[in-house]
Subunit: 249 residues, 2 copies
DNA sequence: CCAACTTTGTGCACGCGTTCACAAGCGCTA
DNA sequence: TAGCGCTTGTGAACGCGTGCACAAAGTTGG
């Protein structure tokens, strides 16, 4: 619980907010989703710096390493509190701890992967998850040949057991890597099993209750966004050409 | 819209933006990135509908299938033109064609994958890319044991040949699935080989010249965003509990 | 202890994206 | 042809995120 440093955390921020909201809840909720995503990036950069023995860093340098501008970095960090030293910078270790706290990484989040095909295998074998506090604790598939087979050190269970196994192992994050037609049914089962968050690789729009958070990783969409930019550039080039523009450089 | 702003504005908002641009280019650029991403989703839903023999659909129904509200859908579609019929809806085939045109999918975009490990194998074998106009035309790795081996029907080439092979096969999109330390070097080579867009799976911030578009797929970040939401929910529950809130129902 | 310098933290303004609400437009029916 | 009902397309308002610019706050050197 949070009251170890009972400092007078005045409601300095957020003028115009409702006066009767708990400060902690408000602060957590007030962090824009985009900022949360960037905090995760800062965390990785900071972890790398810590391994290299860097103990302190200024916003200018850290922001460059994270690929954002320094004002945005400072604003993002301000959402989680004031942990910098003016005239100096930030202590790497302090930032790591605080970002981990805000992202809820102090608690372990067990993960399951459903659909142990090409992608599912890669995910199950990936060392980046357990290394960052996301132990893969269950795997599921329908394929009888896969059931009971160890993948990445975990035995594959049958999809019919999702509800039971997820409850037993307190899975909080479910990763869906099944073919698209199976995704919604799998999703429903995960929700029944008490899974609170879903990371979906299948190109389908999942329907879930309000209390479940879904994020999708959609490679086709990513490719098409890139394609759009290629097309836009080609258009621009054609237009520039047409209008007799001189090639710069 | 303001050609000549006052001199008191000393900050140029967008570097390199010209005041008078051709309408076509303007229209393309005017589409918000977020809208482009959704258009790709609409496209998939529409393709599915077309296969089911649906020929016409109203914004209300299409938006539900795509998981957005109908106003947003109509606004998004309005970016690409007016192809609906008031009182009726949209012709599925027309929308598919128009979205494909805007996303630049009328042209084929050759793709290469670098780093044929767990993830690279999955990507190389994935049927969803060629099926959507993104033929995988080259694979690269450093591992001598992999060079010359066919994966998903393509022979793996050596990373040292990236520049030559990418030029020869006119690769426009490069997918990076190497370990993090190798990503930047691979990226530089791809750029030298004329690749315009990069999809990066390695958890590193890539530095690229302005004319290259990068998108990253960062699973650790996705997981941490989910973790943040779990933590936020837990906080809320704790707060609600603490403040003596009555459980509804 | 003060002055000069460095860097944080944030108020503020701007611009983009989302949402609302409704006029315009189309088909259908009488 | 006129009237009715339905759905699109979009102007306008709103809200959120981003970037700027500077005061506040700390450090360092004299
Ligand atoms: N492979 C990729 O690189 C890639 C890229 C982007 C998206 N995806 C998406 O990820 C998903 C998986 O792709 P993949 O290449 O691994 O496919 P895959 O066919 O190799 O694997 C699918 C696995 O899911 C299992 N499965 C099928 N129905 C199931 C069910 N009802 N419950 C549980 N498991 C079930 C199958 O037995 C198989 O093991 C697909 O939706 C695909 O569109 C894959
Ligand atoms: N596997 C996953 O599910 C997963 C998930 C998220 C992110 N990632 C990221 O994707 C990347 C690849 O992951 P993986 O699990 O496939 O790793 P992997 O170790 O299985 O494969 C990496 C491959 O890259 C090759 N390689 C190494 N150095 C190279 C270089 N300089 N040029 C070209 N190829 C090189 C290796 O020979 C190997 O084949 C990593 O950066 C990882 O962090 C993987």
């Amino acid at each position: 619980m949070g009251a170890r440093r009972g400092e007078d955390v005045e409601v300095v921020a957020a003028p115009g907010r409702l006066p009767d909201e708990p400060a902690v809840r408000e602060r957590a909720r007030a962090i824009p989703e985009a900022a949360v995503a960037r905090l995760a990036v800062y965390l990785r950069v900071l972890s790398g710096l810590a391994e290299q023995g860097v103990t302190s860093i200024a916003s200018e340098e850290l922001s460059a390493a994270a690929g954002v501008n320094s004002a945005k970095l400072r604003k993002d960090l301000s959402y989680i509190g004031s942990y910098g030293t003016r005239g100096v910078g930030y202590e790497v270790e302090v930032l790591v701890d605080q970002i981990e706290r805000i992202l809820g990484l102090t608690r372990k989040h067990s993960v399951c992967v459903v659909g142990i095909g090409n992608l599912g295998h890669a995910l199950a074998n990936y060392g980046g998850f357990p290394g960052r506090g996301f132990p893969v604790s269950a795997l599921f598939d329908v394929d009888e040949d896969l059931i009971g087979v160890p993948v990445g050190g975990i035995l594959v269970s049958h999809v019919d057991d999702i509800v039971r196994v997820c409850s037993e192992r307190e899975i909080s994050i479910g990763v869906i890597a099944t073919p698209p037609p199976a995704a919604q049914a799998v999703c429903d089962r995960l929700v029944s099993g008490g899974v609170q968050c879903i990371l979906n690789f299948a190109p389908v729009v999942l329907q879930v209750p309000d209390h479940v958070e879904v994020r999708k990783v959609d490679l086709a969409v990513e490719m098409q966004i890139l394609s759009f930019h290629v097309a836009r550039r080609a258009d621009e080039a054609a237009n520039a050409d047409e209008s007799g523009m001189v090639v710069p450089g």
